[in-house]
């Protein structure tokens, strides 16, 4: 790999935290963590989920597969998926 190293899990997580910091209309009872449940804790509705995903895509220059939506439950899950996709896309490039 000649370009900058792939962002780490922690870096992706930080980006997601920043996203919620800016975009959550309602502050959650406890601070956002990797264990935060997207629906139960963050009260994310479907449209917001889509917005978050497209924001991450723009930021990291990736395309998240649709299947993502099938097993992502927490903030940590999202970060792990993003790391995976970045690795895949750079591997193919």
């Amino acid at each position: 790999m000649t370009e900058a190293a792939s962002p780490t899990y922690e870096a992706v997580l930080a980006k997601i935290f920043a996203y919620f910091d800016e975009n959550l209309a309602e502050k959650p009872a406890t601070p956002v963590s990797e264990q935060s449940h997207l629906i139960q804790d963050l009260r994310l509705d479907s449209m917001q989920s889509f917005e978050m995903v497209s924001d991450l895509e723009d930021h990291f220059g990736i395309t998240m597969p649709m299947e993502l939506f099938q097993h992502v439950v927490t903030v940590g899950d999202v970060a792990r998926e993003v790391v995976k996709v970045i690795a895949q896309e750079r591997g193919e490039a």
Binding site: L38, I39, D45, S46, S49, F50, S54, F69, Q70, V72
Partner: protein, 589 residues
């Protein structure tokens, strides 16, 4: 062009056009797959032959749960070639919400009496328990391996498809428990397609583009059947999820493909205005778009107007908007406005409207009801009162329809068929009025709230409550409950809000409804997100909400929102569910 009498005949005739066919875009970065009409027909026949090999006889029902648009198109035509009756079922989108999905799917497959289900490799594992719950299902097959059981050139044998044969069942999951399978014949569909084709003034050069789900009438009939019947140049499909994730992609694809025709429900236009950023539209030119259809849910003048103003800079012409009215029981389309007409709304007095009169008003608080145009030649539409007597213009009543597009009935449900079909007239359950023969739709019958003899549409209360900052748009239910102590109905508005303990929100909602509708709700119930009951397909349930309220159980946590409610949104044949599931910014039911 000889007029086709069945959809299989239509696809066969379209194969003569080597340049025409269906294109499919599944993932943003994937190349677009193109299958000519001839290639589509060959693949469809192979699927039909595989059905025969699996022992499916003409008239048997086959459930199709296929998220991929090319597999879906091949399978639905293939079932027709085999004389089988396809039953499109929405695919699951969210593994966290299987209980509801499986329950709803089970109801549909049972009601249809499906003998076979065809799905894809991703969905197959979660349908494991399905077979034991639906005794009629002999097997659940995966499309890719299923068709490989027969030769590439295989075709069904000995099937003679006739115009009066049932072509497929369109399940419309009303908010009530039992799903209704709208039974449509080839003749119904052919009649509707020719009628709407004339309304769109299609030519052999016409190109369409759609992200609509194909298990919904607008996507299926409008963009799968219509292109072949009318032998237009073709259609490109893109996944509904792609649109939701990146609304700009719809406009970019419209521009890239120089598409002439596209359709979407009201909420989609609102989503574009809200979500698309200017930089996402570099180089986009929408000037080829001749028809931007809008239907399948109530149309908001302000939503479309805002879209037209915002995207005019990219060549969008507001005269491209084509508001329409339609329903599955009438195949698809009922009325269209004329081509190239400007968007028109009838401004009426809100007070008079609840008394059943659409009285023109120039007041600031007048309601804007969008014109949905006229019905098609050979089709009839009338407005009737509660006793079934036709009403004069500008009087609000039930919309009734008659003609060749009207369904045969609800599959296996004579009782509910009789409730809506009388003397050939289809009672739509929708309320509207006519002006100069043009239709204006203003609500639904069964959910009316009646106070002191005046009718209020819950949709109106819900819409107004949704306008209040802090309320989750589209997640509001209004209903009335008989209350002897009041001597009238008690009006309750239950709203999902982001901060449930904000009492001033209660006042704001009540004030908004009072200001706009001159009705004072008796109680405003504030609920956390995900509290309102929805069908497994995502439509808000007014009756259920009212029951929970009566039982003191509303907001007591029995109902949870899904991990991501995508499933609900793609879930059914009525767009209102989609809007409801998404908490969409603009639409109302």
């Amino acid at each position: 062009m000889i007029r086709s009498e069945t959809l299989t005949q239509a696809l066969d005739a379209a194969t003569a056009r080597a340049d025409g066919g269906y294109s499919h875009l599944v993932q943003e970065k994937d190349p677009v797959k193109f299958f000519s009409y001839a290639e589509t027909a060959r693949r469809a026949r192979r699927f039909g032959a595989a059905l025969q090999a699996a022992g499916v006889r003409p008239g048997e029902r086959v459930g199709l749960i296929l998220p991929d648009s090319s597999e879906f198109v091949e399978a639905i035509y293939g079932a027709m070639y085999a004389g089988a009756i396809a039953v499109p079922v929405y695919p699951p989108m969210n593994l966290g919400q299987f209980e509801g999905y499986l329950a709803n799917t089970t109801h549909i497959l049972r009601q249809a009496g499906c003998s076979l289900v065809v799905t894809d490799g991703k969905v197959r594992p979660i349908l494991g328990r399905l077979m034991s719950n639906v005794p009629s299902v002999r097997a659940v097959e995966v499309y890719a391996s299923f068709v490989k059981q027969v030769d590439e050139r295989a075709a069904p044998i000995g099937v003679d498809v006739k115009p009066d044969d049932v072509a497929f069942l369109q399940f419309t999951s009303g908010s009530t428990s039992r799903p209704k399978g709208v039974t449509l014949t080839h003749a119904n569909l052919i009649a509707n397609v020719y009628a709407l084709g004339a309304g769109l003034n299609t030519s052999e050069d016409t190109y369409g583009l759609s992200w609509l789900p194909l298990y919904h009438d607008m996507g299926l009939i409008g963009f799968v059947f219509t292109p072949a019947v009318l032998q237009v140049r073709g259609v490109q499909f893109m996944s509904p999820l792609l649109f939701l994730k990146r609304p700009a992609l719809w406009l970019r694809q419209l521009s890239e493909r120089k598409a002439h025709v596209s359709f979407a429900p009201n909420f989609a236009y609102g989503l574009c205005t809200a979500r698309i950023k200017d930089h996402e539209l570099q180089g986009v030119d929408l000037s080829h778009l001749r028809v931007a259809g809008c239907g399948a849910e109530p149309i908001q003048y302000d939503t479309l107007n805002a879209f037209a103003e915002r995207f005019a800079a990219w060549g969008f012409r507001r005269t491209a908007f084509l508001p329409c009215y339609g329903m599955a029981e009438h195949s698809l389309a009922v009325t269209f406005v004329g081509l190239d007409e400007d968007l028109r709304a009838d401004k009426v007095d809100a007070d008079a409207l609840v008394h059943g009169e659409a009285k023109p008003s120039e007041a600031d608080d007048a309601l804007k009801v969008v014109c949905c145009g006229r019905t098609f030649p050979g089709h009839e539409l009338r407005i009737v009162d509660a006793e079934g007597n036709p009403l004069p213009e500008r009087r609000v009543g039930q919309i009734e329809l008659r003609g060749p597009s009207v369904m045969r009935g609800y599959w296996g449900d004579a009782e509910r068929t009789l409730q809506v079909l009388r003397d050939g007239w289809l009672a739509t359950g929708d309320l509207g009025y006519l002006v100069d023969g043009e239709l204006y739709v203003c609500g639904r019958i069964k959910d009316l709230i009646i106070i002191h003899g005046r009718n209020y549409y819950p949709q109106d209360l819900e819409w107004q409550a949704s306008q209040v900052e802090g309320v989750r748009k589209g997640n509001v239910v209004a209903f009335g409950i008989e209350d002897a102590s009041l001597g009238r109905e008690r009006v309750i508005v239950a709203a999902e809000v982001r901060t449930p303990h904000a009492d001033d929100l209660r006042d704001k909602i009540a004030a908004k409804i009072l200001e706009t509708l001159a009705l004072k709700p008796d109680e405003i119930v504030l609920l956390p997100p995900g509290s309102l009951p929805k069908t497994s397909s995502g439509k808000l349930q007014r009756n259920k909400t009212s029951e929970l309220y009566r039982d003191g159980q509303l907001g007591k946590g029995a109902v949870k929102a899904g991990t991501i409610d995508v499933i609900k949104h793609l879930a059914t044949s009525r767009w209102s569910y989609i809007r409801a599931a998404f908490g969409s910014r603009d639409a109302e039911d």
